[in-house]
């Protein structure tokens, strides 16, 4: 009968192949390769975390000069996204953008309005360089790797990530439905003046 059992194996092998993306989703990468300090990162050191970014930087102009190689890896990694969610709380992003990204002092991150662009590169730039009207620059204070984790999480707030990667509800007062339960917003850019709105 064991020989008969063998007949079932191809089926399971096929199933296994179908599941292969899972490996990426489930990887727990603890120590990111830390690149040698780029000359770019040195001048970006600032005395206080709360210095507004320079206004010249706009939505379109993603500063490719000292922009690290854009890293989409985390868009499919549930662990990294959940780390991003933790950092969003730890680094007080929630104090301006509200837990769940509904927006408060800062613009909402869970809707389809993107003042400075919705691509991971744009969001990375927004966090690293900061933006006018109050968004500080965190380049010196948040490691590149963690910034990418934050980027991935921020995109999950408006349902940009696959549902099996986006985080579930958190163990706190839950403002609104969990990130994994959100429908994908169709991001549309906004003229910069609205940046100061709300």
């Amino acid at each position: 009968m064991s020989s008969r059992c063998l007949r079932l194996w191809p089926a399971f092998a096929a199933a296994a192949l179908l599941c292969l993306p899972a490996c990426e989703r489930e990887k727990r990468q603890f120590d990111s390769p830390s690149p040698p300090p780029t000359p770019a990162s040195a001048p970006m050191m600032r005395a206080t975390p709360l210095q507004p970014g320079n206004a010249q930087l706009g939505a379109s102009s993603v500063p490719t000069a000292h922009m690290p190689s854009t890293d989409y890896r985390y868009e499919n990694n549930a662990f990294a996204v959940s780390q991003g969610k933790r950092l969003y709380r730890w680094y007080n992003c929630s104090s301006c953008h509200a837990p769940g990204g509904g927006g408060d002092w800062g613009p909402a991150l869970s809707d389809d309005q993107w003042v400075y662009g919705s691509s991971p590169a744009n969001i990375f730039a927004s966090i690293a360089e900061g933006r006018p009207a109050g968004m500080p620059s965190f380049a010196a204070h948040i490691s590149e790797d963690q910034t990418w984790q934050l980027v991935a999480y921020v995109r999950s707030l408006s349902g940009q990530l696959p549902k099996d990667v986006a985080p579930g509800r958190s163990d706190t007062m839950s403002g609104r439905e969990p990130e994994a339960g959100r429908d994908r917003e169709r991001p549309k850019p906004m003229e910069k003046s609205d940046g100061n709105k709300r």
Binding site: R28, F30, D31, S34, P35, A47, A140, S143, D145
Partner: protein, 345 residues
């Protein structure tokens, strides 16, 4: 026969090996080396239990041994005897009944012993007890020493100092998942459950350093979530506490000053706090007097400059999964940072 005899031999051998091992290593967090009244009560109960249970175990093995020894041998072809042929078997009934009665009585005795121990544990007086709020995090311990006047409260992490001979009341909370507070030399476990608050009362009678560690599985670094309890004579404790209340030392040594600047302007400041500076985040351990601690990262490493440097360079090599990111600081910046942290006596 063969079975039980060889078993006893095996157990004996095993026991001796184990005892040898036990004697050689000085027990850092042994249940069997109590250093305070609570742990002592538990040790007494253990002794009673061990005695009774060993007695029962031996009795059962002897009974089985005798049964195997005295029963005649047969082979499978031999016809089995039937109840009517075996007769009433009064002897067997009497011995079975008495064995059942005996074990019931022993169990009742153990229940009573256990209840009395429970009472004894509850009896620890709380007269001028020291109150400490312990909050568990993945994967380190945060301690806040309470005081009537807020100015005299202070925070520390992963290492508790307590005065000997004075009761201590620990208020236990968790910031994330369930952990369990356990310092075997002082008391049994108590879980720290998010959304709930529990308390643990203990007391150390002999001065000494007692190790404990998280006893409820709490994720990747459940392994590396140790804490040290230093029991000190009251005077020595008070001196330590006063020093803890003071804000961080401000070293004029240039290397340290540069390190301080680096600390404030890079990733460190996002999670750690140092009293008397701008650093006030509470995500990681309070570093106000970090140089005084014996270990780094909840018992991951002895606290030496080299280890500190290794730790900051890449915590993930030492404590995989810990919530501290690797650092890409240039080496000289890193050395300055270590110098600064080393100055935080």
């Amino acid at each position: 026969m063969a079975t039980s005899a060889s078993t006893l031999r095996w157990l004996a051998a095993c026991g001796s090996v184990v005892l040898a091992a036990a004697v050689r290593a000085e027990p850092l967090q042994s249940v069997l080396a109590p250093a305070g009244p609570q742990a002592a009560h538990l040790k007494d109960l253990w002794d009673v239990m061990l005695l009774v249970c060993t007695g029962v175990f031996v009795a059962v093995l002897v009974a089985v041994g005798i049964a195997l020894w005295r029963a005649p041998r047969a082979d499978s072809s031999q016809r089995a005897s039937l109840p009517q042929e075996l007769g009433p078997q009064r002897g067997a009934r009497r011995s079975v009944l008495s064995a059942v009665v005996a074990s019931t009585l022993l169990l009742l005795f153990l229940i009573v012993a256990s209840v009395f121990t429970d009472r004894a544990l509850a009896r620890l007086s709380l007269h001028d007890a020291l109150h400490i709020e312990v909050t568990a995090n993945q994967w380190w311990w945060e301690a806040r020493y309470d005081d009537a006047q807020a100015s005299r409260m202070f925070n520390t992490a992963n290492e508790l100092h307590i005065p000997t001979g004075r009761p201590v009341v620990l208020t236990l909370r968790s910031n994330d998942v369930i952990h369990s507070f356990w310092v075997p030399a002082l008391h049994g476990k108590k879980d720290l459950i998010p959304g709930r608050t529990s308390t643990l009362r203990l007391q150390a009678d002999q001065a000494g350093t007692y190790r404990g560690q998280c006893a409820e599985f709490c994720g990747y670094q459940h392994t590396t979530m140790a804490l040290l309890v230093m029991a000190e004579p009251p005077a020595q404790y008070e001196a330590w506490a006063d020093h803890q209340r003071a804000t961080a030392a401000l070293s004029q040594e240039p290397q340290a000053a540069r390190g301080r600047h680096i600390f404030m302007t890079t990733t460190c400041v996002m999670c750690h706090s140092i009293q008397g500076t701008d650093a006030s985040a509470r995500r990681g351990p309070d570093l106000t007097h970090v140089a005084q601690r014996q270990t780094l990262a909840a018992g991951a490493l002895p606290n030496t400059p080299e280890n500190l440097e290794r730790w900051i360079r890449n915590p993930q090599h030492i404590k995989p999964g810990a919530n501290m990111p690797p650092s890409d600081l240039p080496t000289d910046d890193l050395k300055a940072l270590v110098a600064y942290l080393g100055s935080l006596q």
